[in-house]
Symmetry: C2
Subunit: 128 residues, 2 copies
Amino acid sequence: MGGAVDDLSLVFQALADPTRRAMLSRLAAGPATVGELAEPFAMSRPAISQHLKVLERAGLIERTAHAQWRTCTLRTEPLDEASEWVDRHRGEWNERFDLLDEHLRRVKRSAERAAPQGGAPGRPKETP
Amino acid sequence: MGGAVDDLSLVFQALADPTRRAMLSRLAAGPATVGELAEPFAMSRPAISQHLKVLERAGLIERTAHAQWRTCTLRTEPLDEASEWVDRHRGEWNERFDLLDEHLRRVKRSAERAAPQGGAPGRPKETP
């Protein structure tokens, strides 16, 4: 949509503002008119419109017109993609810690086998 | 840190760029020097530095100096907060759909009771 900005960047960009996040929080409770969305903010109508445009461009809201009313509805599909990205990176990181943990456990076990306390109970004797 | 930008906005802002996300992906595999992080990108060193500054300001990386080497390490705590925000909003929305679903099921059940097919099997007969 005009420019080389990828979809995921548009979503994170849209979330990078407390007013826009508050608007999405409001919409999570159900669709709202532009007037209802604007109400909690001491902000000009053009500023509100600009925020809605950013949310719409990221695919996070859908605007529909009923007679003279314009209603905004939350769309959560882009949030799914954002959540997936974040969780994958938290996941990879935690996985690395798990691997490190497993490695340390193995090192500890082989150290215990190399210098056993009380005579290597697990090792088979050579004489019958 | 100069300005009224909240922590969560800084995190989403940092994630709103494919180069910065690629840097975090690289760091999810383990710490790296600035040179290693810069390598995949056809980008000037000042541009790389600027991206690292945005990541650092959001708390997503930590830079440590060993002798003349500067190492960058991923920090996932800010991702936890971002993930929590996103999941809460997906959750609220899905909950609304669940409530709607439950409501529709109830409506369907009472419609079935009001106009049963094949002679109200569940209703007790009046004659003994």
